[in-house]
Amino acid sequence: MIQLAIEIPYWGQSLLRVLGGLVAVLLPAGTIVYLFLFKMMSFMQSRLGPMEAGPYGSLQLVAEVGKWMQKEDLAPEAADKSIFKIAPLVVLVSTFLLVVVIPFGPDALFTDFEVGIFYGLAVASISVLGILIAGWASANKYSLLGGLRAAGQLIAYELPMVLAVVGVVIQAGSMNLQQIVVAQNTYEIFGLDWIGMPFVITQCVGFVIFMIAVQAELTQPPFDMPIAESELVSGYMTEYSGFRFLIFFIGEFATAGVFAFLASILFLGGWGIPFAWFGWTDLDSVDNWMNVVGPVIMLTKMMLLTGIIMWVRFSYPRFREDQLQTFAWKVLIPVSILNIAVTAILKVAV
């Protein structure tokens, strides 16, 4: 695709990819926590939020991480120690596995996986295991209830998420995320080639379902029944403190960022701009500077989508457990199956 002036050896490329993966996971997580959790939430609640550490409290996160790292690594007396300690790592690993398939530019990618989106949905489901065993290993009824609720919820909302993506896959004709980006930037609407076709226009139903499912997968309000603090203390996280709590915390917000990356690739055109603007025809003809501009575009879209996720989070009250399950099984899944049927018919007919 590109001819680099310098040849980077394989180990160098791998090292760069690992560093890139760390940045792609941790940078959004930190930004989301500061910008949305600290500042936007405070603004919506008519308060200032953290103001002391650094200008406008921008170093608050550093202080918090420092505090958590210093705390003792506690495990309850009756807990299953080894499982208790592994559980948060399972959740975080699932996030890091997820970021591997996300392309940030024509060549700025970790791996060009032919079944990328399928892989993404598969590894996202691993985090359920971590949450479930975290709840069990804590040897605590609140934790166990929280873990069970989380598992039930994540299974229920994984289905509409997968089904919502199927519409995009049908329309793009590929499960490769890179091909999905190219499809959105080369397709035409009514012969207009300068706007491309972000699938949010044609797959608006799928987009809404996907975002709702993401909200539920993150166990964020209004879907935070698993950690409902008024009845379960803190659900599966009750017994966790110190840096293991920090890992859960990072995992939650990093996953929000990674899912937003995924949504912007599937529905908002990803790193691309309509290829017709610069006379590109396919992936190989895209100019090299897109490798620098692409990640910026992706970050912008990611911030936009996480902004919406957090806005919903701070605005809506919690669903009751039965409402939550009914909503997934009786509303989202039928609608997304209908969406697939309509998409498939139009794909063949048009």
Binding site: A78, A79, D80, I83, F113, E114, V115, F118, Y119, L121, A122, V123, S125, I126, V128, L129, L132, I133, G135, W136, A137, A139, L144, G147, L148, A151, G152, L154, I155, E158, M175
Partner: protein, 181 residues
């Protein structure tokens, strides 16, 4: 096959790293499989099973069967094992060693397991006739997913529908059995 003979064949289309990886993962899977039946805690057994199933997915990746590998993760780790754990935790999930996890007649399982292993090994070796898998090209890997879907919606459409019908019947049967009213 010894490692030395493996390296000797490295020029003949044998991917050494792939073979070494196979044996490392296989050893891990064997240990995990042994722990599934020997551990005294039901939840631990389920988690060791996750390791085995993850190992199978890794083996599929080594064999360049991406789609099957990911289906393995999505279906077995993401769904089946979560349901297993869910069920265990809803019924009996004590922490620490359980007292009555071992069946009295557990020794009967050994000849059965050996028999199944023997049959599977014989069939696999007989079927492949000692032939070596060649390194697939990028195009071949890319084409597997399309080939699978073409197969499902073409010559294997009837078996697919038959299997899904069986699953549907099983699901309805489970609901009928579980309903009290």
């Amino acid at each position: 096959m010894t490692l030395a003979s493996l390296f000797a064949q490295a020029d003949g289309g044998v991917n050494v790293a792939q073979n070494v990886g196979f044996y490392i993962i296989a050893a891990g899977m064997l240990w995990a499989a042994f722990r599934v039946v020997s551990t005294k805690n039901v939840v631990h057994a389920a988690l060791w099973l996750v390791v085995v199933l993850g190992g199978i997915a890794a083996q599929y990746i080594l064999a360049a069967a991406e789609f099957v590998a990911i289906s393995q993760v999505l279906v077995y780790i993401g769904a089946v094992m979560v349901l297993f754990l869910f069920g265990i935790m809803l019924t009996r999930a004590t922490i620490g060693a359980d007292t009555d996890v071992f069946n009295k007649g557990w020794a009967v399982g050994i000849p059965v397991a050996l028999l199944v292993f023997g049959v599977l090994a014989y069939v696999t070796i007989d079927f492949t006739e000692d032939s070596l898998l060649v390194d697939p090209t990028e195009e071949q890997i890319a084409a597997t997913t399309t080939a699978i879907s073409d197969g499902y919606l073409g010559p294997y459409l009837v078996p697919l529908i038959a299997v899904s019908f069986v699953l549907l019947a099983a699901a309805i049967g489970a609901i009928v059995l579980a309903r009290k009213d």
